[in-house]
Symmetry: C2
Amino acid sequence: MLCQAALDLPVRTRVLDPDPHAPAARCCDEFVVGDFADAATVRAFGAGCDVVTIEIEHVSVTGLRALQAAGVAVYPSPDALEIIQDKGAQKAFYRAHHLPTADFWLAETRAELAAYVTENPALLPAFQKLRRGGYDGNGVRHLPDAAALATAFDAPSVLEARVDAALELAVVCARATDGTIRAFPVVEMVFDPHTHLVTALAAPAAISPETAARATELAVRTCAAFGTVGLLAVELFLTTDGALLVNEVAPRPHNSGHHTMEANYVSQFQQHLRAVLGLPLGDTTPRAPAAMVNLLGAPDGGDGPATVHGLAEALALPGVAVHLYGKTRTRPHRKMGHATAVATTTAEATALAARVAALIRIAAAGF
Amino acid sequence: MLCQAALDLPVRTRVLDPDPHAPAARCCDEFVVGDFADAATVRAFGAGCDVVTIEIEHVSVTGLRALQAAGVAVYPSPDALEIIQDKGAQKAFYRAHHLPTADFWLAETRAELAAYVTENPALLPAFQKLRRGGYDGNGVRHLPDAAALATAFDAPSVLEARVDAALELAVVCARATDGTIRAFPVVEMVFDPHTHLVTALAAPAAISPETAARATELAVRTCAAFGTVGLLAVELFLTTDGALLVNEVAPRPHNSGHHTMEANYVSQFQQHLRAVLGLPLGDTTPRAPAAMVNLLGAPDGGDGPATVHGLAEALALPGVAVHLYGKTRTRPHRKMGHATAVATTTAEATALAARVAALIRIAAAGF
């Protein structure tokens, strides 16, 4: 979607991805198959580029540092990315910058975690998050009680106190090269309790203007603390007693900003491009209440060449926009696309988006 | 822009264009360099496609008929396209179908035209339009008086009575495979008197609801008469005495629908795709008043690799969306992109779009 947005600007795009069938291959100017976690590959890929940016966190910081040293503009900065890649360092960053966040403890192994929890049983229930390599809800484990420790990750992780969250919110900010920050309106995210994937999003969140102002202020402060150029999506918990805590951030286009394509004057994708290209940030004013649902490979839809069912029925609904990513293969819970609904109220948009989610089924042949 | 819209749908695209640097080459799945006016090329290109459509009229009807005979769905139909390709046949079609249109006369040569006009001096002032091959205002000549006949085209042409047009309007309609027709709101087009190119567009047109209803009804009737599947952009004259006349039609995405990307729930590009793919048509309700300006190669900007000046200033204006087409070379008056402004009134949007047109300059190096 970043490359799709780039088609409108006077810029040529080159993309690095290990999958030759990556969606971006269809609409970038140059596509390079390679491992973005490999320093030498990243360095070779970015040589000759004016600007290098990312759409996933797991890119070699060493490779990006080499590009930066060679004079390539790298956004987000490798220093910030290094912190964000490590959920332990990310949490320490919040603490150091007095950004409110849930209590946490770091452990190197499952044994260390178990020993710690056995000594401090009040720590549970909690979430264990892998320090590195998580994505789309992968790398997160709920530990309701001591028995669950047997299934905990045996790897460096963050044990995070379970927050009594009334709502999970997100604010997509963008920071320009001149330090200007603009935030999209606060959205509410609903996660699937099993997959930890964003199921649905409502924009704007159903919170008071005062809470929205506090959430925006905290997100902007977080964005300023990292000092990155480009988007910074800030996920927040609104606790049952009204406190706001930073959960985690993503320095790239984020699922919590997908609705901006239809719901705002500038999409998060163009906003990111504007920022990293040194262009002025766009207006983040909302155009209409909106809701977004992810379109995932059906849980019982098998693994194989994808077929989309129910598309015509979904497109017949006014105010609905469907974005399928052109991924040729489906598997259970794979993100295959998303749909946005705009309406006169957020509740209406949410109902419309839920209808789309119920109508569209993505499955392999025979499923 | 059609391919850009297709990226969101579960469809693969193959494009035929003689220019290896055509904008669509950047975002289609397969790009074939070839002459779409050549029947054998079109036939070979379309073999194996499920659906073939066009973005320019000058495609070999013979080639399209061969594809249709081979079982490929061809939209618009070759029969309708053949009529539309010939402005003489197009005018005769309007007359035959009782669709009001300006009076016209057909001439094979300049001499024939001159003889006719000499016998009927009251025919002038008039416009001479080449029957075939015109595009973007090329192939149109204003004949204010008999002296101008010396510069008239010496080719088969239509002599068309100059209409006392109060406004030039356009209605982009779409017809689905089941015959359903939906029209976007009526827009007003302002043409450059010298280049005959659309300079600016205002949506909706500043006309009474009664006139808008009549214009929509005439456009829908025209669309139904052609019976094509996909878009049919219908250009209309609103005369000073309130009559509506069909000027000409285009069975494809059209300059008069570019603003729909920001001003409507469905863009003309997705609407065309929905129609030709047998999907339900989208809602054409307007989201906001809008205006569109074409971004042309500067008249004094030379011919060469294009540089875009003033983009940052234009993007700083709220409500403005800029679409540059990725054409690498500019030449005077070449369509290099367009910009849309949305605002609370059409007048505001028009003023905003005019500012963008004044800010952006596209020129070759050294100009």
